[in-house]
Symmetry: C2
Subunit: 154 residues, 2 copies
């Protein structure tokens, strides 16, 4: 389908591969930095941050199975994280009416406040880490990454 | 340092945060797809692919400790992967002259050929996955991601 590359051009597949390696490098380095900052400054972990972020988007709570689908990690890990959040008064589990086996997890007001604080720090770290990018740069990147994320058949 | 946002503009930190979430979404979804394809089509794993990729860049081989630094994973995991590659005739370990405790790992010709085949498939998957992006899109993204990766103080 692609036209023959001109003599001075690399194949487009090489250009896209180079791009993928940059995406991977940036996402790996930012994630490593986030993990380190969450651990050193907030005594917490990225999976726990992700669970709190998911719950903060659903004030009425999420079933454990929904949380597990949403975060694409195993139910067992989520249960452990919710157990610890509950012990610290940051989350609670409530029974689902009409389904005795299902439990809904949600943040307590204390948990909501703790997450808002973490999210504020998170936004500041990302702002600092991506500080080389102007508003135009960020908009262009977001637009092109959304294009890459679109289903290829639509 | 940043000028006050105009009334119709979001803070730049929100724009950068949105961008980060897109980078994370794209890198996570492409990596999940790569893992699945390596497992289903090639009966292999992403860490093993990464070890072979690193060795393929150093035909004279790498010390186990260099490989571990390079890939940022623990020496123990690397040793297990090299053990299995050696059993299958894809890699070998040779002693370092003058350092009886250090071992260098390198690909055998069979391993070099096996990796070239995997790398070709990898490039094709990425080309397909990022198929929405034109050459101009890919170049713009790579340029702006390199800008983001640059040290913020230079």
């Amino acid at each position: 389908m692609n036209p023959q590359p001109q003599p001075d051009q690399e194949p487009l597949s090489k250009e896209r591969l180079r791009l993928w390696l940059r995406i991977l490098k940036l996402s790996s380095s930012v994630q490593a930095e986030l993990r380190r900052r969450l651990r050193d400054n907030h005594d917490t972990t990225l999976p726990r941050f992700d669970v709190m972020a998911a719950l903060s988007r659903y004030p009425d709570g999420l079933k454990m199975s929904e949380l597990s689908d949403y975060l694409k990690v195993s139910n067992g890990n989520i249960t452990g994280i919710i157990d610890r959040l509950a012990e610290e008064g940051l989350a609670l589990r409530v029974a689902v009416p009409g389904d005795r086996r299902a439990m809904i997890a949600r943040l307590t007001p204390k948990g909501t406040k703790a997450f808002a604080d973490l999210a504020q720090h998170h936004e500041e770290w990302i702002d600092d880490r991506l500080g080389n990018l102007t508003r135009e740069d960020a908009k262009t990147l977001t637009r092109l990454l959304n294009k890459a994320l679109d289903d290829r058949n639509t």
